[in-house]
């Protein structure tokens, strides 16, 4: 544990009501930002090449020499890093420092094969906390606030990541972790939690649990939520905000980059500010890997700029989104990333049509009065892909006659066809028969992969 840095209050409320944790870094001019990036990039590339045998070989094979690293734009010629590179170098092969200098390791849930491991030096842990403090301050949280941290604690980066950042910011942290919904609702009220950190699906689940106990948004003290670790739509934001009576903000990160703190929304809710002074961001075509211009949807690629233990060069996140460089009303100068519209490896190809589960969710959420509990089941019958959308019948939408139920099914299927161009079969289910998530939501079951 490093010496606790002095708590400093966030400064300069921005117009939208949030705060800056580090106004100098968050509002630096774009020219200055590019200088900082260039300097840090060169140090990172040199460190990776010299200290990580994997990168030494990679760069040599690609014909990259130390001299090439000093050219601006050098990064566009460097090879990419992918998840399997991390697995192949399991457990500690990607470290750029001696294991003794690593004060923390996290690991992803490795459902197949080895998990991906990520290491942090003492400085890395501190930088991570700084970035989370920025994230929380942008939603208006500061000293005196109480953050209910319902992200899982453990190998998953969400729990400890938010925890350290909130302490640095000067919040009181309630490290409740995920699950135990009954207790979450009780302590939220008893302790007057003003901030909530959890996955968006768990936020919805909590809102539902509160409602079941007769508690509406006015009965809950929370005013801002930080929700990440799984993709969610703006329609889902509306549901969370109404259910809990909060501003629901999206936060973005991935364990390979150190966890949450890579990008975050301010209260303008118009894209997530990328911490560009610590992560170099690119958008590339997932097929050709060519860089794409501003505003074009492609695969998000990051290069770490300050991570000491485990620098990663041009890491392919598989998340698809676009970048906005236009200045934000909040005064932060960083580029913003849009909500990921899907993943380049999750994209469902249904009879030749590219479909992202998020698009189906958007259609469902746009229907009046619908419960957001659904699941998409893809299967192959003969040579045809068959998509079923399971929806729970809530009392608000129960049409009470068979004709009404059938019209409802057809209406949803028609809407999905109009928007996505695919035929789906809608199946109505009883409430609470679709598995609820207390962690990441399983929205898609692709049986084609199992057959």
């Amino acid at each position: 544990m490093s010496a606790a840095p002095a708590v400093r209050p966030p400064r300069d409320p921005d117009e939208a009501g949030g705060w800056y944790w580090d106004p100098r870094a968050e509002r630096m001019s774009v020219d200055e930002l590019r200088d900082v990036q260039m300097r840090r990039l060169q140090a990172t590339l040199r460190q990776a090449m010299e200290q990580v045998p994997f990168y030494g070989r990679r760069f040599r094979d690609a014909g990259v020499t130390a001299a090439d690293l000093d050219c601006p734009g050098a990064v566009a010629d460097l090879p990419f890093t992918v998840k399997t590179d991390l697995r192949d170098n399991y457990p500690f092969g990607m470290f750029a420092v001696a294991r003794e200098e690593v004060v923390r390791v996290h690991a992803s849930s490795g459902t197949t094969g080895n998990p991906t491991v990520v290491g942090y030096t003492r400085d890395d842990v501190h930088t991570w906390s700084e970035l989370i403090a920025r994230t929380l301050a942008a939603g208006g949280l500061g000293p005196g606030d109480l953050l209910q941290n319902a992200y899982g604690y453990g190998l998953f980066t969400g729990g400890l990541g938010l925890h350290y950042g909130a302490e640095l910011l000067g919040c009181t942290v309630l490290p409740i972790s995920g699950g135990q919904t009954e207790r979450q609702v009780k302590l939220m009220r008893d302790f007057t939690a003003t901030g909530l950190a959890c996955t968006p699906s768990y936020a919805l689940y909590l809102a539902e649990a509160a409602r079941d106990r007769g508690l509406g948004p006015d009965d809950l003290p929370v005013r801002v939520g930080y929700h990440g670790a799984e993709p969610w739509s703006n329609e889902m934001r509306v549901q969370i905000e109404a259910g809990l009576g909060i501003d629901a903000l999206d936060i973005y990160g991935l364990s390979e980059m150190g966890g949450p703190g890579v990008a975050y929304e301010c209260l303008c809710k118009c894209g997530m500010h990328v911490n560009e002074d610590h992560y170099l961001v690119e958008i590339v075509d997932p097929e050709t890997l060519a860089p794409l211009p501003e505003g074009t949807v492609g695969e998000l690629v990051f290069t770490t700029l300050s991570r000491r233990a485990q620098p990663l060069i041009r890491y392919r996140t598989r998340d698809l989104c676009s970048l906005i460089y236009e200045p934000c009303a909040c005064g932060r100068t960083s580029a913003r990333m849009t909500k990921p519209v899907g993943r380049s490896d999750d994209m469902l190809i249904i009879r030749g049509v590219n479909v992202f589960p998020s698009q189906i969710e958007e259609v469902l959420m746009s229907l009046p009065d619908i419960e957001p509990h659904y699941q998409i089941v893809v299967d192959r019958k003969g040579h045809l892909d068959v998509v079923e959308v399971w929806i729970e019948v809530a009392e608000e939408i129960f049409p009470e006659t068979m004709g009404g139920l059938e019209r409802f099914e057809r209406g949803v299927a028609k809407r999905i066809y109009e928007v996505l161009g695919i035929q789906v079969k809608v199946s109505l289910k009883e409430p609470r028969t679709i598995k609820r998530s207390e962690g990441k939501a399983v929205r898609v079951i692709d049986k084609r992969k199992l057959n």
């Binding site: 009392e395 129960f398 006659t401 068979m402 139920l405 109505l428 289910k429 009883e430 409430p431 609470r432």
Partner: protein, 137 residues
């Protein structure tokens, strides 16, 4: 003169209807009449019960989707043309009927998948009627 009817959404899983009947029976709520309608994967059950408010609360707590609606219950003379008389009355005034079902609760007709097995299971426990007995009712 309006009667409250309770409608329940049920997925077609075996035992689901029994759960509804058990739940109400355990709480002393008597089912006075009911009808079921089914599609391939789900169905709806319409119930006339002795305590609709409590029945709805119980089913809601148990996780069922329910709906209240208002219906009318008619005493139809048990003779040829008895039902026709009521239907004619409504038809001539252009009042359309969404559905109707009998709530005389003494004799119930079951359509089951395995009729022989059902008979085997029930024959010693309840009174099963023959074709002739039904006609003679």
């Amino acid at each position: 003169m309006k009667v409250t009817q309770l409608t329940v959404f049920l997925e077609n899983r075996s035992g689901r209807l029994a759960e509804v009947a058990d739940l109400l029976g355990r709480e002393g709520i008597n089912i006075r009449g009911f009808s079921t309608t089914e599609a391939a994967e789900y169905g709806i059950v319409r119930l006339i019960v002795t305590d609709p408010d409590r029945a709805r609360d119980l089913l809601h707590e148990a996780g069922f989707t329910t709906h209240f609606s208002q219906v009318i219950c008619v005493k139809v003379p048990d003779e040829p043309g008895g039902l026709a008389k009521v239907l004619d009355e409504l038809a001539s005034a252009d009042v359309s009927i969404d559905y109707l079902y009998s709530i005389s609760f003494m004799n119930i007709c079951f359509a089951v998948r395995d009729i022989d097995r059902a008979i085997e299971l029930l024959k010693d426990k309840v009174t099963l009627m023959t074709d002739d007995e039904v006609r003679a009712l």
